[in-house]
């Protein structure tokens, strides 16, 4: 079986009101996993925000995005996803 080059990048922290976003790939499809204190009440909002940021960055490759949430507001989550995906892609944040 041919070996694949997996790549992982992260942004964020597990501090209160922050989240740790991990982007891993390649993956066949885009997978979003959410865990943490707010997951039970904000899962859909978190998934929407991740998709919005990735789409906005032109992400058309399959990646696995893991959000370990510790109460991040939407703007914080969005920034963490943007940074993690930028690192994954290898480009610098402007």
């Amino acid at each position: 079986m041919e070996s694949m080059d997996f790549k992982t990048s992260q942004a964020g922290t597990l501090e209160s009101m922050d989240c740790l976003v991990t982007v891993t790939g390649p993956s066949d499809v885009r997978i979003i996993e959410v865990s943490g204190g707010s997951a039970s009440r904000f899962r859909t909002a978190i998934e929407l925000k991740v998709n919005e940021v990735l789409d906005g960055m032109g992400c058309d490759a399959g990646v696995r995005v893991t959000v370990q949430d510790n109460g991040a507001f939407g703007v914080v989550l969005g920034a963490r996803v943007e940074a993690a995906f930028a690192r994954y892609r290898g480009g610098a944040l402007s």
Binding site: G37, S38, A39, S40, R41, F42, A45, D69, N70, G71
Partner: protein
């Protein structure tokens, strides 16, 4: 389904609890007692009765006559250091006693040791606060019958009125003598006040003191007299001192919480109650302690002395008394070492029972003498209803404590908390569980200012007058709720099944709300 006075649907019958018709919450002060007090079995101890002493908990259980299906009670002054509940339940299992109803004042994380005995049927019912792992187990349907939650005042009311009959009370006794006199003030497991255990001692058919510090007769001081106590079990350790009292309770250093405390203290100063003789309860939380700290400055500035501090007492309150800013402390639970030391040495630091503290159906509950109480809540809603029982994910994780009692008794009830905890809003359209009705909540204080219950126009006017001297931002409830919504975004609903896992009783024994089983395991 019928709606109660806070618009909650209550099933007419709840398995494991009974009929709720005639027991729906009607209003904070709608119900009054009738009839006579319930009582314990009469018994005597004569010169020929032998000894009350048992060499082990197991021997004491045998001697108590405890049988399967009975109700046993515990008090929680040893908090997360308690060894007694776990030891008693384990001993019951070993003796083949099961199907027990346990009636603790509260269970803590340390009591997760009884979970195997819940699963095996030794414990089939819990009436009392469940925290941590046991709360989660209950939320997910792990207990056959629903938990019944009562406030610190509602519990003694239930016992005295006969709603609950205690067959055997097990009382953790930091010090005892061979006649069964008990004190919480001495011994390696000293916890200060043992106020929650008083009613159990008076109303249980059999009372077992469990001690690791047997002293010669008679001990002094005595908190619970041996006239109520049948058996004294001597064991090696009743608790871990490190889990019983915290070394120090500290004022918050978080700027956001300090701001909230500052606004709350200004509200108190603006109120008509800020005068010589004011009384207050502030508990042990970071924000309430900070409010106490700000009030201390204001009391000095305006040369005011408080008549008493009430409730769970901390070293911070003890310092206020030493400074002469508070004259007496009325203590149902000593939170830290300083409080435990003070109650043992200062006659102005008074040990009170839960009955005296908060029972709505007696003639002298201390909460009714209270001017100001600072409380917290998991969430409050636009009708000022407060939830302290369930977390944002719907799990049952906290007891009522004195929340209902002090809110109902105090002239000024303040809930002070940040507007959000993480992304979770603390002000919502409708709380998941009503613990305390909005009728008895006067103000919510957040980092955005003071939100006054529109029923308290007098307070609103007082704040407006006060604002001339010190800033006291006022924010109406609809604006506060909208702010929370815009910061946090829309929340998904909590998914539950129809099964009722807990009943929240108002302090008069009516059903103010129910908690339903969570639909799936929460990650």
């Amino acid at each position: 389904m019928e709606l109660n006075a806070v618009h909650r649907e209550i099933p007419p019958r709840i398995d494991g609890y009974g009929d709720t018709s005639g027991k729906l919450f009607e209003g904070a002060f709608a119900r009054h007692p009738s009839g006579y007090r319930s009582g314990a079995r009469m018994r005597s101890f004569t010169p020929n009765s032998g000894s009350k002493l048992s060499g082990s908990i197991k021997d004491a259980i045998k001697a108590s006559g405890l049988k399967s299906g009975m109700t046993i009670s515990f008090h929680h002054h040893l908090r997360n250091g308690d060894y007694v509940v776990n030891q008693v339940i384990k001993s019951c299992a070993e003796l083949g006693i099961g199907d027990l109803t346990i009636f603790p004042t509260a269970l803590f994380e340390v009591h997760k040791g009884i979970i195997p005995y819940i699963k095996s049927g030794v414990v089939s019912r819990i009436m009392g606060s469940v925290n941590g792992a046991i709360g989660r187990l209950v939320s997910e349907g792990g207990l056959g019958s629903p938990v019944v939650l009562r406030s610190h005042g509602g519990r003694p009311r239930a016992v005295i009125s006969g709603d609950v009959h205690i067959d055997v009370a097990f009382i953790a006794a930091p010090t005892a003598d061979r006649a069964g006199n008990i004190s919480g003030q001495m011994g390696s497991a000293a916890c200060g006040s043992i106020g929650y255990a008083f009613t159990d001692a008076e109303y249980a058919d059999v009372v077992v003191a469990i001690t690791d510090n047997l002293q010669s007769y008679p001990i002094s001081p005595v908190s619970i007299s041996g006239i109520f106590v049948d058996l004294v079990a001597v064991t090696d350790f009743i608790g871990d001192p490190a889990g019983i009292v915290s070394g120090t309770t500290r004022v918050t250093r978080d700027p956001l919480r300090l701001l909230i405390a500052k606004y709350a203290s200004r509200l108190i100063e603006a109120s008509p109650y800020f005068m010589d003789g004011i009384s207050f309860q502030t508990g042990a939380g970071g924000i309430p302690l900070a409010v106490t700290s700000f009030m201390r400055e204001a009391m000095k500035r305006r040369d005011i002395r408080a008549s008493f501090g009430l409730g769970g007492i901390t070293g911070y309150f003890v310092d206020l008394m030493k400074e002469g800013l508070v004259q007496k402390l009325m203590d149902v639970q000593s939170f830290d070492l300083e409080a435990a030391r003070s109650i043992a040495s200062n006659p102005d630091h008074i040990e009170i029972s839960a009955d005296w503290y908060a029972n709505p159906w007696n003639c002298g509950a201390a909460v009714n003498m209270l001017d100001v109480v600072i409380l917290g809540a998991t969430e409050v809603d636009v009708d000022f209803n407060a939830n302290v029982n369930t977390e944002a994910d719907g799990a049952l994780l906290h007891g009522i404590g004195g929340h209902q009692d002090t809110a109902a008794g105090a002239k000024l009830t303040i809930i002070a908390q940040p507007l959000t905890r993480g992304r979770i809003p603390c002000v919502v359209d409708r709380v998941h569980t009503v613990t305390t009705p909005g009728d008895v909540v006067d103000a919510i204080v957040t980092e955005f200012g003071v939100t006054i219950n529109p029923k308290r126009i007098d307070l609103l006017d007082a704040c407006v007058d006060f604002a001339a001297s010190r800033e006291i931002p006022l924010i109406p409830m609809d604006e506060l709720a909208a702010k929370a919504k815009s910061m946090c975004g829309a929340m998904e609903p909590i998914r539950t099944t129809d099964r009722v896992v807990a009943i929240v009783e108002w302090r008069d024994g009516t059903v103010i709300d129910i908690v339903r089983q969570l639909e799936k395991q929460v990650s």
